[in-house]
């Protein structure tokens, strides 16, 4: 399986996927950490994939979305954005709406 197939499979078989540096428990980059906080706050279940585990993955994800930076958030197979966009959408209440529209928000109560 090529790296592009691997990424495509992850994106399409998980409702919410975050490609990030580090893990949701231990983010290794402030930008990745911000999205983790937002997703945790919204109480949405997601899969975190650590791009630091493989250079092939780290470069492959940039090509996949034609997006030069990490983190990258995908919802229902669709690229939502990187840190700036996700934060902006969260602050405007749009992210919660997108998740709700797709039947994803509030599966778990927000812990904060």
């Amino acid at each position: 399986m090529s790296i592009q197939q691997f990424i495509d499979n992850e994106v399409k078989s998980n409702d919410v996927v975050l490609f990030m540096k580090g893990t949701p428990q231990f983010p290794q980059c402030g930008f990745s950490g911000q999205i983790v906080q937002i997703l945790d706050h919204l109480g949405v279940a997601y899969k975190g994939i650590n791009v630091l585990e493989s250079d092939e993955l780290r470069n492959g994800i940039k090509a996949y979305a034609q997006w030069p930076t990490i983190p990258q958030l995908y919802v229902k197979g669709e690229f939502v954005g990187g840190c700036d966009i996700v934060r902006e959408m969260f602050q405007a209440g749009e992210l919660e709406q997108v998740l709700k529209d797709k039947g994803l928000a509030g599966k778990h109560p927000a812990s904060a």
Binding site: K62, Q66, W67, P68, T69, F79, V80, G81, G82, C83, D84, I85, E88, M89
Partner: protein, 78 residues
């Protein structure tokens, strides 16, 4: 090698001529910038598409010479 703020603005405007570009050097080290790009030509485009246009303008410098660029895009308030 850090990038000059004027150079960033020039690259963005060369790709998006109607852009109103504001750049702040966040850390004063020529390496961490925040840019706001407002353009009428963004109208009808998603945020992802707007950001992709800006990244395209920066010709692959993003993630390379340009370590961190916090980006905000939008259309002018009329």
């Amino acid at each position: 090698m850090p990038m000059d703020a004027n150079e960033i603005e020039r690259l963005i405007k060369s790709r998006i001529p109607d852009a109103d570009v504001t750049i702040r050097d966040l850390a004063g080290d020529g390496d961490h910038y925040a840019a706001t790009v407002i353009a009428e030509s963004f109208r009808g485009k998603s945020r992802v598409q707007q950001h992709q246009l800006v990244y395209e303008a920066l010709k692959g410098q993003m993630g390379g010479a340009l370590h961190a660029l916090a980006l905000q895009t939008g259309i002018p308030n009329t």
